[in-house]
Amino acid sequence: MEFSKLLNSSIKLNFILIISFSISVNSFILFPNINNAFYVLFHLTFIYLIFYHYHYYLYVVAMVYGILFDVLLLNYIGAHLITFLSLLIFFILLKKYLIRLSSYQIIFIYFITLIVLLLFEQFLANLINDYKFNVFLIFNFFLISLIIFIPTVFLFNKLDK
């Protein structure tokens, strides 16, 4: 019963991943913030999956989405792929410390991880693909993260019951 529950919420979260990925890689000229919001939502969902539904299949998920994000948004493989895999590896290393934290501390770490992830992607894109650091984009991501973070966590909690 417990396993089926876990499987269900995991499937739902993966479904959110697919939808948010699809919307974030198709630009809508009238609503550019939709792309940015779903891009942030993808990262939020992915971190949530790692924190609460860790399984080694996530390495394959990270690889597939990392490659696709890189190819579709940057045309070169690198920034997203390295970021997603690094996050997974860091999680394994820090798992034993994260378990000891309270729920509020976890939420705080969750938000910090999201911001660090988005910054790290920009940094890697700059380092590997010579992509110029876009302050507008980072500021936009930060604002969107602030707005959607709490509702998203609430939604994910509901999904997990």
């Binding site: 809508f28 609503f31 550019p32």
Partner: protein, 273 residues
């Protein structure tokens, strides 16, 4: 018997787990390396992403797209009367320009014959339509529905009726990818029409203006000057319309492109003769 069996299963799953993690990390490292060297494996991945993944993502994001189109059409409908008035005025103005242009074109032909000059006309490779765009996050890229089967090659120029749009950076059999002028990573060598000042322009990050990254002899063009491709870098054909100088500062200037990047439907892929 039972505990032994359990241990074996545990060991096997642990082996699979470790194997998956190590292979994923190794493959990723190789892909990052091959991506820099344009290895055919990366080319295959790009091919799959543009021919399989893009249509799937378009299908999934269709409701958002439909909503966006609906809002766009509603806005257009609201401004119909106002736009009609502007268009009528523009038609009158363009008719006057047309008469002048025909006269100039005739004069141009006669002068070229007298000078025995060769044309630097463009060769039109293909007119292609836009499939989707990825120009909000990171690079400013668009995908077209024509590829190397239509003789499109890397580094060819993409133009529309208003001027230079960008450069082809990748081609697959049936699709090609164009980087827009407004991308901060694309540099174009340009010259101003009135003074012939040579400079390099790049995207400004805001997606609207182009900013000069290098100006030859630090001579600034005048406000309102028209800027065209210089053809010196051998990538873009010479004399393609780029934009108008919109702002001049001490060490740099800003150009407003002629192309409306928000309304691109069809593009022509061209190369110089």
């Amino acid at each position: 018997m039972a505990p032994k069996f359990q241990i074996k299963v545990f060991q096997l799953s642990r082996f699979i787990k470790n194997f998956t993690i190590i292979s994923v990390v190794t493959i990723s490292f190789l892909l990052v390396f091959f991506s820099k060297t344009d290895y055919y494996l990366v080319y295959g991945i790009k091919n799959i992403s543009s021919s399989v993944v893009v249509p799937v993502t378009r299908f999934i994001s269709a409701p958002v797209n439909a909503f966006s189109n609906f809002v766009d059409e509603y806005n257009q409908f609201r401004s119909l009367k106002f736009e009609n008035k502007i268009l009528q005025e523009e038609i009158t103005r363009l008719k006057k320009w047309q008469t002048l242009a025909i006269q100039n074109s005739r004069e141009n032909k006669v002068l070229k014959k007298l000078l025995n000059a060769t044309d630097n006309n463009l060769i039109l490779i293909k007119t292609a339509s836009l499939i989707n765009r990825n120009d909000t996050i990171y690079s400013k890229l668009i995908n077209l529905n024509a590829g190397y089967e239509d003789k499109i090659k890397k580094n060819m120029s993409a133009i529309n009726e208003r001027g230079l749009v960008g450069k082809v950076i990748d081609t697959t059999a049936k699709n090609s990818r164009v980087i827009l002028l407004t991308d901060p990573n694309l540099s174009i060598s340009v010259k101003s029409i009135s003074d012939g000042i040579f400079s390099l322009l790049t995207g400004n990050g805001d997606g609207k203006y182009l900013v000069s990254s290098f100006v030859k002899e630090n001579k600034m063009p005048r406000l309102g000057d028209i800027v065209v491709t210089s053809g010196t870098a051998q990538i873009f054909p010479v004399d393609l319309l780029v934009g108008k100088v919109a702002k001049v500062e001490k060490n740099r200037f800003f150009v407003l492109p002629f192309v409306d990047f928000e309304n691109i439907d069809y593009l022509q892929i061209v190369t110089s003769k």
